[in-house]
Amino acid sequence: MSARVITVSSGKGGVGKTTVTANLATALAMAGKKVVAIDCDIGLRNLDLIMGLENRIVYDLVDIVEGRCRLRQAMIRDKRHPELHLIPAAQTRDKSAVTPDDMVRVCDDLKNRVDYVFLDCPAGIEGGFRNAIEPAHQVIVVTNPEVSSVRDADRIIGIIEAKEKGPGQLIINRLKPDMISRGDMFSIDDILDILAIELIGIIPEDDNIVVSANKGVPVVMDKNESLAKMAFRNIAQRLDGNPVPFQDLTKKKNLLKRFRAWASRGK
């Protein structure tokens, strides 16, 4: 076994890194993989809350790095799945408590124990981000379809290419098909034109994500199907080497195109 280390980044804050990490880690665990998710946001941890494991924290990432516990002791097992673990960030320390070399060492120790290691980046391009990039085999860049997050994604892509971790794969989160069809939101093609990297997933704006964050139960565990759940499951499959086709979230747009063609006929 040799774990694949996947880092989830974005540059801009609040675009959905933690949501993506929790759901992809959970989806792969539900598909029978051994998965560890590590919160690299030292001082502002949240992955524990989104995964519903906040009450079970004893040790954290900084305890491992500073030798206060063994790796295994800081791995919180998610009992709802056979093989899903979380390593939480320290809440009362700052970013400098962990170095990029520390992260490489931690991921190295996990190498023979699991199939996937997910690293949830903090916002920004400083310490915590650099820590999470260092051990990465693959970097996911999350963006929203709006100017500032696409611009920051471009910056991240530049950095990961310079560090030879590139080219990176793109997740577009919080897509609103009706705004796109009105021409008031970047389309998928617009974003791919600008960023020129491979697309690995599209997640629509979905209230279920907020509900699931409230409950500490990632949407991929919902009994009911939702667009977001389907989107995350598809991305997990793609990461695992099954190139499932993209869902069509913009059916309305096609209808509109047809109407346009009809309206401008014979012009």
Binding site: E146, V147, V150, R151, D154, R155, G158, P167, I180, R182, G183, D184, M185, F186, S187, D190, D193, I194, A196, I197, L256, F259, R260, A263, S264
Partner: protein
Amino acid sequence: MGWFRNILNPKSHQSASVAKNRLQMVLSHDRFNISPQLIEEIKDDIIAIFVDRFSIDADAVEIHITRTPTESRLVAEIPILTPSRHRIARRAKRN
């Protein structure tokens, strides 16, 4: 009737295409350290090259840097006035 015009005229002034143009400009700067000022200067130079030789639409000249995974290129778009639009433009100038 704004919505109806929008449907018939998809690209014109919708905020997404405005955003795309603006973003492409700032990214030229972010990626290659080319300032908007320099882009404007290049634009003026290009217009100067063409203006006596072709009928171009100087106001609509656009310059940006496109990127694919393997290369980046500086792209200048210089709309040439079609004969009829040219005539209209000339007539407009005369008046």
